[in-house]
Symmetry: C2
Subunit: 322 residues, 2 copies
């Protein structure tokens, strides 16, 4: 059984051991704060597991794992400013605890620190790792921009939505695996399979996230059930509903967007979604991406034993009780 906790703890220790300069403290205090507020550390664990898939010690890819996690943290800090989010993992966000200017600069510095860790890779792997990292980093920015664009657009298609979540969150999972595979001297085909695995697990996870927002057990869900509905977010549930709804139902969806009674808004939306069988359709789509991921992993020619940890991680990320 994959001991995720021990991997996450390894990453925690490595993050804590990063030697940050002492001054200016107004720059490095927020960085130290943010690196310590935790998270599942899925991305760096993927880098370690990709190396282990090809029998390479995880210690050989620690700097690359850190580069991915630090880059991810940079994106969280800047996204939180843009989303005006007060909390991240139940802790104050940087712009909330300090201010926006500090958060902008902290994010910038973290991105550079991510590159510093990436640069610790063996020279023979540097060009490929650097190019892959740059490409992915830019795609993450593109995904974030698409997400912001969608807020004011009323013609977002499901295809565009999937592409947005692929860029905003999933390509980084693919890049995390790719860095481990590069150091393990995996073949082009193996790297491509891992990328497909990572991206599709990411997409399946995000779809699950959309479903759980409305269909999770309030006693187990950590936040307000229906938060996306309240905020009129164009989730996959909403976009699927729009494609399946008839004219009358479209009118109801539109009217519900300006409904002020929150619990009525949620219950009426859910009622309509249930009628249109939206949840099931989203689950099908999630499962399709999950299958693409597993098939890609299975296509890699290493022993089943070596694939087990990545399979278990995929299963951990995608709960089976939707």
């Amino acid at each position: 059984m994959l001991n995720l906790k021990s991997y996450a703890e390894l990453i925690e220790v490595e993050l804590t051991n990063i030697q940050l300069p002492n001054s200016p403290i107004a720059l490095y205090d927020p960085i130290a704060y943010f690196l310590k507020i935790g998270g599942k550390r899925i991305r760096p664990i993927l880098t370690l597991l990709a190396a282990e898939l090809f029998s390479i010690e995880k210690s050989e890819v620690i700097p690359q794992a850190l580069a991915i996690e630090i880059f991810h943290n940079f994106t969280l800090i800047h996204d939180d400013i843009m989303d005006l989010a007060p909390l991240r993992r139940n802790q104050q966000t940087i712009h909330e605890k300090w201010d926006s200017n500090v958060a902008i600069l902290t994010g910038d510095a973290l991105m550079i620190i991510a590159y510093q860790h990436l640069g610790r890779i063996e020279l023979q792997f540097l060009p490929e790792a650097f190019e892959s990292f740059n490409k992915t980093a830019l795609e993450v920015c593109e995904g974030q921009q698409m997400d912001m664009d969608f807020e004011t657009r009323n013609d977002v298609t499901i295809h565009e939505y999937i592409e947005m979540i692929r860029l905003k969150t999933s390509v980084l999972l693919g890049a995390a695996l790719n860095l481990g595979a590069i150091v393990a001297k995996a073949s082009t085909k193996e790297k491509e399979s891992l990328r497909i695995f990572g991206e599709n697990i990411g997409i399946a996870f995000q779809i699950q996230d959309d479903i759980l927002d409305l269909y999770s057990d309030p006693t187990k869900f950590g936040k307000q059930v229906g938060g996306d509905v309240i905020a009129n977010k164009k989730t996959l549930l909403h976009l699927t509903a729009v494609t399946k709804a008839n004219r009358e139902q479209l009118k109801i969806i539109s009217q519900l967007q300006s409904e002020n009674d929150i619990s009525l808004k949620i219950s009426r939306t859910k009622e309509l979604f249930d009628h249109l069988e939206i949840k099931q359709e989203c689950i099908y789509r999630m499962e399709a991406h999950y299958k693409l991921a597993i098939d890609a992993l299975n296509s890699i020619n290493v022993s089943e034993k070596h694939k087990t940890p990545l399979l278990e991680l995929a299963q951990f990320l995608i709960t089976r009780d939707l």
Copy 2:
């Protein structure tokens, strides 16, 4: 005679030729806009001149020159958000023309694009160039943080101020030269001399900037003379005055900070500064850094003819008629 204009035009052409992705346009339009609003392009020109100093064709360091200029543009975009600056080179800033979120993301993407250009360097030079670039990039963030810290501090020393401008603006000039020197396979000593040249020219330029703010000809100065005084900025003029002033004069300086009559505030400040001979002291300091720069350049063992362009650029940056 150094034809600065032809170098700047070369950089303009190269910046214009950068192939940006087509979408999302909300991300790439602001990037294209900002890369076209001009500037003196001093930093990339330094990279070209450093290569030419060692008889390397400038065409061989174009990607590195672009990396430096694009990185510089990223810092401008984020600094403009933090400073709430409405204009940059007489054009609307990104956060003003679009909004802060767009400006944050545009800056992030530009930093990544800078790394993409840096990555086009020959493999043998990549580790050193990458490390130098990362170190400098982080120093620029540190300088920006110090600058922000100084706004609320009343005990800033001249030493700290010089260190702030060194980090915020001058190290990037040094790094620009260093990238050219790396490709030219310059010796460690030569690279160090060029770094000293670049950093001290940068410091001298910033000191000149502080002096010109109060002591330039209003008919020639592009902006409000005394703008720093109005904004109570802790420039070198102010910090020098604080160290030279007696108790009575310190009180006047403090009172003037809350003077609402702008022209009175400027004229009284100037009167006091003249009495304390602040301008002359700042000129001495500027000249000292200028001399450090020239001495460092002169210590490099290449023909005088090859040094002339860098000397002329230094002279161009530091006007002699203060």
